[in-house]
């Protein structure tokens, strides 16, 4: 074996080279801001009050955080909003995927119609729903309510939380459906055939064979759903900002560059969010590593 070849096949920098630009870029852009955040969170920095000196105050911001009922409410809304949106879109996604996993006239067109909401710009989706569906003046839902003799409801202000969840579910159901559909279509026909021969009915086939087979796909859907839906901002800012709809990202924004300018305090909030995310991520990555390991074994 020639020397050069040996060097190439060794675990040298030659192999790592191609990954370094991406790695370093991501390290700099995503990790360095957090180091700054940690430092800011230990200071009394209020950007709109020049006269108040920016001092090192230790963990005071973190102590204040526990007395902040607004933060607690935002944290609760973050959790409930993410959980309801992810669960509902997975449920609807399963229903759509099962309906689409058959041969019928216009299958491709139906799939295309269903995935469209996922492609719509979130700001536009929120605006269209707010004005043209939920609104009391021009909204179709209210027009229907009136048609059947009910009073109109300004959904966005009366039910801000569920109005937002409805739009999120509308946008994320297609995504979940596509992942679940990929799972259904990877199911081997022979297994389903065998179940049929053994006299299993459709219901027990679904719960005992299909659902376990779908598990990794559902886990992937939950994982990606949680990543994106826990960070919702656009829909809230368009549909309705109220104490019933403000999640943590929105609250931190509001306390800092959204008008509060309390950089020290807001940084403490964001660090707490990071810690919570690390806990969720550890769990999520374990799921993920299960997925990759399974793949490797196959």
């Amino acid at each position: 074996m020639k020397f050069k070849e040996k060097w190439l096949s060794s675990d040298g920098w030659y192999r790592r080279g191609p990954i370094l630009p991406a790695f370093i870029f991501l390290l700099v852009v995503t990790q360095i801001p957090f180091l700054f955040s940690i430092y800011y969170s230990l200071t009394s920095w209020k950007a709109n009050q020049v006269r108040i000196p920016r001092e090192f105050i230790g963990i005071q911001n973190y102590i204040d955080l526990f007395d902040d009922r607004f933060f607690k409410s935002a944290a609760w809304i973050s959790i409930t909003m993410t959980v309801s949106a992810v669960l509902l879109s997975i449920l609807l996604g399963i229903i759509f995927a099962l309906l689409l996993d058959r041969k019928f006239f216009g299958q491709g067109i139906v799939r295309t119609l269903i995935i469209t909401p996922f492609l719509v710009m979130p700001v536009v989706a929120a605006l269209v729903w707010k004005n043209q569906f939920l609104g009391a003046n021009f909204g179709i839902l209210n027009w229907l309510l009136e048609l059947f003799g009910f009073d109109t409801i300004e959904f966005a202000s009366k039910q801000p939380f569920w109005s937002i969840v409805a739009v999120l579910v509308w946008q994320w159901t297609p995504f979940m459906m596509l992942i679940i559909l990929a799972g259904l279509q990877s199911q081997s026909d022979s297994v389903l055939e065998a179940a049929k021969v053994d006299g299993a009915n459709k219901r027990s086939t679904f719960f005992q064979i299909t659902l376990p087979h779908l598990r990794p796909y559902l886990e992937l859907g939950v994982l990606l759903g949680v990543i994106y839906l826990s960070q919702v901002f656009d829909h809230i800012s368009v549909i309705r900002v109220s104490s019933k709809s403000k999640n943590v990202p929105y609250y931190v924004f509001e306390r800092s560059i959204g008008g509060g300018w309390e950089f020290g305090q807001a940084s403490a909030y964001s660090i707490v969010v990071v810690i919570a995310s690390i806990i969720i991520a550890t769990f999520g990555l374990r799921v993920l590593s299960g997925l990759i390991a399974d793949n490797e074994g196959a």
Partner: protein, 266 residues
């Protein structure tokens, strides 16, 4: 008969689900009067709203968005392709940990980073520039692109690369004549998904870039929403803002989801 009913209900559900998009499209051809009275399916269509939108600053926003999104997508691909190559075709030791690092950055809440990014951008006079959004959109999409490309590269049969190597093909020609033709559709789907996410992005654009080089989502919200109930004009603007991405997504739907799920699941 039962089959027919099932198909019919699938169609009905799909049409209901699609209806908001259809309604937005329809309203964009109405006059403001038609759009803000009782919902109607039949009316005399007008292009008046599109004319209004096109005469406004919409095209400036469209051009800024297009520039920012295209440049960031190109950078993402330039960084992600070699990275995915080193994760899949010639895997580095501990490639799994490396892949985890890329994905784990997506778990970090954006809001937690925005403050230092804002302060840093301000210090470097990058606020209200295109550069700051290009950098952030690249960072936002890079993990996803690495994840997807890794799965597409893994589908390339190792024997093919081996055969080319034995025939004396250099690494460069192994890449250009064996690997690239196979992964080309995957590359296109990945670039499209990055394009979609960057095109639709609102949070960073709102925080860092509201004055000069406004992007489309900011323009839609600012120019139309805050002026009150211009339903018809809002619909026209929304239609123009969403169409590029919707059409691109229709073409790439199958590939995109395969790239997203294959990395985890075979």
């Amino acid at each position: 008969m039962k089959k027919f009913l099932l198909s019919l209900s699938t169609w009905v559900l799909a049409i209901l689900f699609f209806f908001p998009v259809f309604w937005m499209f329809l309203n964009s051809f109405k006059t403001d009067f038609d759009a803000s009275t009782d919902p109607k399916l039949f009316f005399s269509p007008t292009l008046e709203q599109f004319r209004e939108v096109i005469d406004s600053k919409f095209w400036e926003a469209f051009a800024s968005s297009f520039f920012i999104v295209i440049v960031s997508t190109i950078i993402v691909m330039l960084l992600a392709v070699p990275a995915a190559y080193a994760l899949s075709i010639k895997p580095i030791p501990k490639w799994r940990d490396m892949l985890f690092f890329f994905i784990s950055t997506k778990f970090l809440p954006i809001v937690a980073g925005i403050l230092p990014i804002y302060i840093l951008a301000d210090a470097l006079s990058l606020l209200n520039s295109r550069t700051v959004l290009i950098i952030l959109y690249t960072a936002m999409n890079l993990p996803l692109a690495v994840w997807m490309l890794n799965s597409f590269f893994r589908e390339v049969p190792k024997e093919l690369i081996e055969a080319a190597r034995i025939d004396g093909a250099s690494i460069r020609s192994q890449i250009t004549s064996v690997i690239l033709p196979i992964v080309a559709p995957g590359l296109a789907a990945t670039a499209l998904l990055c394009f979609i996410f960057a095109w639709n992005e609102f949070f960073f654009a709102l925080q860092l870039n509201v004055n000069d080089y406004q992007t489309v989502p900011i323009w839609v919200k600012g120019a139309v929403d805050e002026r009150g109930n211009f339903i018809a004009e809002l619909s026209a603007a929304s239609t123009l803002a969403t169409m590029p991405v919707i059409i691109a997504g229709w073409f790439a739907q199958k590939k995109m989801i395969r790239g997203l799920s294959m990395g985890a699941i075979k």
